[in-house]
């Protein structure tokens, strides 16, 4: 959403939790920029969500689904 503060320890972000906007400290995620998804706990962003990794589980699920269907067809 937006980022304020220039020193790394006081950098704060306005974060959109699906419509609810809250302030969180970005002190521990210096790499984060506006538009990133972050994991927040008690007012502190603790990590940036890796979107590519987040997608992998769904590719995997698709794969085990297809394998299952193949097994059903062949039996």
């Amino acid at each position: 959403m937006s980022i304020s503060g220039d020193d790394s320890l006081t950098r704060m972000g306005r974060i959109d939790f699906s419509g609810v906007i809250k302030q969180a400290s970005l002190a521990y995620v210096p790499e984060v920029v506006v538009g990133d998804y972050v994991i927040v706990h008690v007012g502190f962003a603790l990590s940036k969500v890796d979107e590519a990794e987040a997608q992998k589980v769904f590719s995997y699920l698709k794969q085990i689904g297809e394998l299952g269907e193949l097994e059903e067809k062949s039996s």
Partner: protein, 370 residues
Amino acid sequence: MKFLDEYRDAEFAQKFAREIHRVTTRPWNIMEVCGGQTHAIVKFGIDELLPKQIGLIHGPGCPVCVTPLEVIDKALEIAARPDVILTSFGDMLRVPGSTTDLLSVKAGGGDVRIVYSPLDAVKIAEQNPAKEVVFFGVGFETTAPATAMAVYQAAQKGLKNFSMLISHVLVPPAIEALMSSPDCKVHAFLAAGHVCTVMGYEEYFPLVRKYRVPIVVTGFEPLDILHGILLTVQQLESGRAEVENQYVRSVRREGNQPAQDLIKKVFEVVPRKWRGIGEIPQSGLGLAAEYAAFDADKKFGLTEHRVDEPTDCIAGLILQGHKKPHECPAFGTICTPEHPLGATMVSSEGACAAYYRYRRHDAPELAEAK
């Protein structure tokens, strides 16, 4: 919400469940050490999707639950002082000490305030220079970066009226304590995703080697938990014991370095008593000598009074996986979330409270340990 809703998809959950059924041939007990996971497992009925051979043991993963009575009594003693504003997270207020709870102290005129972040407590201290502002800080490694920053900023600002009552606990020493117990029933662990987001997962490699027990770093959403269980069962069935990371979208092997740096600066590792379990060596964080001026324990000269747990409560057996909540005669009768007897009923992340809330009185039995 992105990165949330899709992890609750029922069809995908069924796919994982079918895969877990397909690979499971023997009985296995898997322990989660995370209150958020415990809550999700019971809320979404994840254990009911699993094969009968898979037993889920709800370990000591709720920091509010494992905070010892003695520490809660100290918070109550501080909160009752007229010169004090005591601040804490909302779920600490209902937790009973040996005679009362913080909400009752508040109702009786004590200035007890709920804060969202420990930094809010620092702000209250700045705005109320005539009062002593104390933050009651409870939590695992996930919360430690926030409390460390509050102490650090209070020191930077030169605040003299701010201090903390700290009861931070650490996960790996608890896993070690459980595994070294001779009657341990646990075959594998799901490690808490947010704890590892902060700390990484290097600490788990020695445990995996020493106890030959798989540890899978796992997230909190239903699909995360099912995926974590699948990876765990695949390891168990193939005789492997490794550290694996299911929660890759948030957890990096080395964790969050800036957060760890500040934790190391502000805190030191200390022995800590866990409610329902007892003292575990090197399992807590206390303020380092440099920050001793912010230690509420020292500031108010508190003395510790040993308090015994209620004898009707079997929380210790539940936390170690020897009993399920509904097997306790006190469950739902003399022990409820409104009047909790012990650790696992006091917060919504405790196993008993989750079972009570979602009316689970018939959960599957545990598998016999091999």
